[in-house]
Each structure stands twice: as structure tokens, then as C-alpha cells.
Amino acid sequence: MARVVLDDLMKSYGNFHAVNHVSLTVEDGEFVALVGPSGCGKTTTLNLVAGLLPITSGDITIGDQVVNDLDPKDRDIAMVFQNYALYPQKSVYKNLAFPLQMRKLPRDEIDRKVKEAARVLDMTHLLERKPRELSGGQQQRVALGRALVRDPAVFLMDEPLSNLDAKLRVQMRSELKRFHHDLQATIIYVTHDQLEAVTMADKMAVMNGGNLQQYDSPAQVFAHPANMFVASFIGSPAMSLIPLEASTVDGNIVLTGAEGWSLPLSSFNSRKIQNAKTRKVVLGARHSTIKLHKTAVSDAVPAKAYTVEPTGDVTFVQAFLSGAIVNISVPPNVDVAPDEQIWLEFDQERMHLFDGETEMAIKAD
């Protein structure tokens, strides 16, 4: 196993920067998820690490070696692909043996390693089958096995679970997590599903438009999103982002909504606003940090319910506030009707404040 360092990595197609000055370090044995919407550059980044695409500039280091100009086969990596990429004409055994044959290992050693991988992944009984005779989950396991037999320095995984149905995906997610735990493998994992990233990864690199937005542990990314993109991308339902105006009333800082109401701020949040360069402030709040009241309460702001979606455990209410849609979760016994007047109280400790112009989180100091 090895650590992987991306240093100022660039991949450009003419003026388009698919990967734009990305730097990050994956420590030995870490599970890092590259996450972002379609076209954000996450898969390109992975292909650069794999050596399937030439880099435009920057450095990729695997272990102690700069691998910029090495062929994929010389980088000591193994890759798992979205549609498994199993060789359809080869049996499972031959699929697993293929990377070892290419490395000209002796036949008995290949046999030993293939059987060992099959045992680890519990698919000894599948060895003689062809890929098309396997279920999606089994195919995925074979793809994993083909990576495993190589005993590579780094595992690269490109949306390996996205072709599976929802139930199997959840099951394979825990299997992969266990796989990482047992092997202490260095894994770089690409996904567009933020839930996969949050549940499995030690660290997540949130990307958008070729740029690395934030690189931190899932808990940190969730609790302290670096900017509005990360805030809205991570978490489900998405964090509500409400554009407001900051002003001073009687010496206290308040945020004013488009409807004219004012929200007084705690001293901690007031200090943030004082540090901000702009009066345009975006208030970010996750559904669980907003309290819904059916009568006017001090410090709560008036809003109108728009839709009500009971899910069993909780009911999600969407409301219009200052031109934005706000998600609120309430216990199922709270009875709200669409178009009903409601009041929303924000948890001052857990609210996020963003600079309305730069879209970056406003820091306290």
C-alpha cells in the first residue's frame, strides 16, 4: 500500500480545464472519495491517476515515485470500473488470472492467488462461470477480485456501485467498507452519490467544474462546508440557502428577508457578519436545524408552507422564504397543510453564513 499525492494537477482540452489545479494527498491506507456532479472532473482525475489519460501539468506521486510518464501497468494500481469491465469470453477464474498472466507469474502462483482472492470474496463456487452467468453483485465482486489478486499499491474505483439496484448497492457498500477495513487498502473512489462518499470514505474531495472545492473528513465537510456548492451538494435533502441582507438595527446585527422580516443574530454569528466584506449574506440551514412553529414565536420568521411530504419517520415541509425554498423536517404528528402560515426558527449554533458574492463560508475570525 502507498500514499498518493496529486500536486497542482491539470488536465486541459484547449481552453477547457477538466481538472484545474487539483492538489490533494491520500494517506497510506486511506479511503478517499472523489465526489461531485456529472462533469465535475472526478472521473478524469481518477483516469489521470490510473495513467489512462496523459496529464497536462502537475505531478502524480504513488508511493515514492512520480508516475506522470509511467504506463498504467507500471503504476502498481488496480482499477474497478462502473460496468465491471469483465472479459465476457473468459470464465471468472480466467478473469481473475488475467492481470497475473500479463505479469508472467508462474502458473501455480497464479492459481494460489486466484483461489485466495475467490475465498476472500466468497466466490469460489463461481470460478468456472462466465460473467454473463453472474448477477450484477457477483460481477461487481469479480471485478473487485481482479483488482485484489494484484495486491496493488492503490485501488482506483470508478462508480463501482452505480450499476447495481438500490438494495444491492447498500449491501455492496458495507462489503466494500469491510474490504477496506480488512485490507487497510489505499482506495480512491469516484462517485456522484454523496451518500456513498459520506458513508464509506475517510476523507472526501468535493469537486465542481474541475476545481477541488473541499477536501476533508465527511463529518467536517458536513458540519463546515467551505462554500455554498459544498453546502448544497452534501446532505439530503439539500441544505436550504436563503439570500438575505445584513444590517444594523439599534446596534444589533440582523438579517432581513425579502418579505421585510428581520432575524436577530447571536453574538457569535454577529461577529461573523462584522468580518464579512459584503452585506449580501446567504443563510444556510439543514432541515433538521429549523424548528417549525404554527404560531408566531419571538426570533422565528414568517413563511408559507408549499408542499408537505410525509415519509413515515419524518415529514418534510417545503416553504418559501425570501425567494428561496426551505426544507424543514418535522415529526409525523405535526399537521401542516400547503399554503398554511408557519413560523421558522433557526438554530443559531448550527446555521451557516455564506458571503453572497464569493459564495464562500464566512469565518468567525
Binding site: 490510473a50 470500473f81 469491465a85 472479459y87 469470453q89 488475467f98 500479463m102 452467468e133
Partner: protein, 319 residues
């Protein structure tokens, strides 16, 4: 004993099954109505000619050359064909023609497709040029090649003489020994673009992820071809070879226009021979009998081929 008889009789109950079929047909009567015109046309232009050909094969042409006076001769035509020397000559020619044309044009098309699959400057133009033999009229191509091969004015002969390779221009299509190979060369020239296009289309469907996987697994370019690309092209190759073989078996234009089957039947293949018998020598009965034999041979080949193909499919489905 009685119980045995009872068992034998018990499962034979075609009544309800047939009623079910009829009801099924009736329920889908609108669907049948839609395909009825097509079926009628097929019956007129295919089924009736087949019947008529089979019928005609038992008759011989009367001295009056009027088909209404045709004379019934039973299997005489078949016997005459199978015992004639020309039949075996033509059959052998047809086999050589079909086999060499199919294999070599497929091989050449395959190689060209692989060469054109790589990205290089001028690839588009080259691809367009290479398709030309296949898109121009076969009649025009035959005449052009006739001139290229011509023993007095042919460009190939002139080049060979000019380079000092030959003393005088060779008789490509006027000598018994070289005529068939010369025609096969023309046929390959004309057909390889078809194989090329089919294989190029096949190459485009090779999954990129599979090639990437092989690359990461450490396969060289040749190994990637052998382990990923080549197996992937198996189906398209099978279909291409079948289509080429059928087309070659039924070839007519090139041999007919270039040599008319000569000299001394050396370039006759089945279709040209049948055509000459029927419309050159008015021996409709013999020509029909030839056609029936050809039909039976092709149907047999087709049957085994389709069975092999659907056998594959079945295996896939069962899996």
C-alpha cells in the same frame, strides 16, 4: 395392456390446442391483415417462381422453343447434370470462387479496418477512398477491370513489361489457368470494403472500459487486441462471412461481364452457367434443375448456419 394403450392415447389431444391456435389467430386478425399485402406479394414474386422452377426442372425444351409444348422428362435433367463433366467443373469453380473471395476479402477488410481504427491524419479521406470499390456499379467496375487485364492494352501488362518482369503482357482472362484467380482478385477488390465497414462498426462497439481494464491489467497492445477486441468481433465477423459467402455463391455480374464464363468454362460459376443455359441456349429445364440443386445446397448451408447461430443465442439466453 389396456393401461398401456390408455397411456398412449391420453396425452394426444390436439383438439383444444388447435382451437387455441385458431382463437389466437382470430384475436390477432388485425395484425394478420396488416402483413397480408406483404405476404401476397411474397407469394407472387417468390413462392410462385420457386414452384414454377421446380416444375420446369422436370421438362425439356421442345423443338418449337414454345414453353407450352414443353416435354416431360422426369428426372432426366437431374441425371444429365450430375453425370456431366461441366457440372463438376462449374461446381469446383464455384467452391474455389466462393471460398477464396470470402476468406480473402474478409481478411483484407479486417486488416484495413484495424489499420483505419487508429487515429492519423488523412484517415477520413483514406476511408472514403477505400469504400469506392464497393459503391461504384459492379458493371462499370467489371468493364474497367477488363481493360486493366487486357492482354494488348491492359495497364498491368504494360507495367509488367515496362519493369522487365514479363517479356510480353500476360493473358490474365484469356487463359484457362489464370482466368479464375484474376476474377477472384477483382471480386476481392470489390468486396473487401464491405467487410471493412462491418468490422469498423464492430470495432466502435468494443467497450472502452474493457480496453482500459486490460491496459491497467498490464496487457500490451497486441494482448489487448487478442483478449478483448478480437473476441468482441466474433459475432460481427460471423455475420460478415455469411453475407459474403452468400453473395459470392450468387455472384453473377463480374464473371458474366468480364468473361461470360470462358474460356472453355474455366470461369463459369453456378449462376453464370444457369443463366447461360436458360437464356443463351434456351435449355430451361436443365437450368431449372440446376437452380433447384443450388437452392437445396444453399438451404442446407443456411439451415446449419442459422442453427449454429441460434444455438449460440440460446446458450446466452439460458445463461
Amino acid at each position: 395392456m389396456t393401461s398401456v394403450t390408455g397411456q398412449a392415447n391420453a396425452p394426444r389431444r390436439p383438439g383444444p390446442a388447435r382451437a387455441g391456435t385458431l382463437r389466437n389467430v382470430w384475436q390477432h386478425r388485425a395484425d394478420y391483415a396488416y402483413v397480408l399485402p406483404a405476404i401476397v406479394v411474397m407469394l407472387i414474386v417468390i413462392a410462385y417462381p420457386i414452384y414454377y422452377t421446380v416444375d420446369l426442372s422436370f421438362y425439356t425444351t421442345p423443338p418449337s422453343l414454345q414453353l407450352r409444348d414443353k416435354i416431360f422428362v422426369g428426372f432426366d435433367n437431374y441425371q444429365a447434370i450430375l453425370t456431366s463433366e461441366v457440372f463438376w467443373r462449374v461446381t469446383w469453380n464455384t467452391l474455389i470462387w466462393t471460398f477464396l473471395s470470402t476468406v480473402l476479402s474478409f481478411a483484407l477488410g479486417f486488416a484495413t479496418a484495424l489499420a483505419l481504427h487508429r487515429d492519423f491524419i488523412g484517415r477520413g479521406i483514406l476511408r472514403a477512398i477505400l469504400i469506392i470499390p464497393w459503391v461504384i456499379s459492379a458493371v462499370a467496375a467489371s468493364y474497367i477491370w477488363k481493360w486493366i487485364y487486357h492482354s494488348d492494352f491492359g495497364v498491368i501488362g504494360a507495367i509488367l513489361v515496362g519493369l522487365g518482369i514479363a517479356d510480353r503482357p500476360p493473358n490474365f482472362i484469356d487463359s484457362v489457368g489464370t482466368v479464375l484467380p484474376s476474377l477472384i482478385v477483382v471480386n476481392i477488390w470489390r468486396e473487401f470494403p464491405f467487410a471493412m465497414i462491418m468490422i469498423m462498426a464492430g470495432l466502435q462497439t468494443v467497450p472502452d472500459q474493457l480496453l482500459s481494464a486490460a491496459k491497467v491489467d498490464g496487457a500490451s497492445a497486441w494482448q489487448r487486441f487478442w483478449h478483448v477486441t478480437f473476441p468482441h468481433l466474433r459475432n460481427v465477423s460471423t455475420v460478415t462471412v455469411l453475407l459474403l459467402a452468400v453473395a459470392n455463391f450468387n455472384s453473377f455480374i463480374i464473371p458474366w461481364i468480364m468473361t461470360g464464363g470462358g474460356p472453355s468454362n474455366a470461369s463459369h460459376i453456378w449462376i453464370t452457367h444457369i443463366y447461360e443455359l436458360a437464356f443463351g441456349r434456351q435449355r430451361w429445364g436443365v437450368a431449372s434443375a440446376y437452380s433447384v440443386l443450388l437452392f437445396l445446397i444453399l438451404m442446407t448451408i443456411g439451415y446449419f448456419y442459422v442453427r449454429a447461430l441460434s444455438g449460440d443465442k440460446k446458450k446466452d439466453r439460458e445463461a
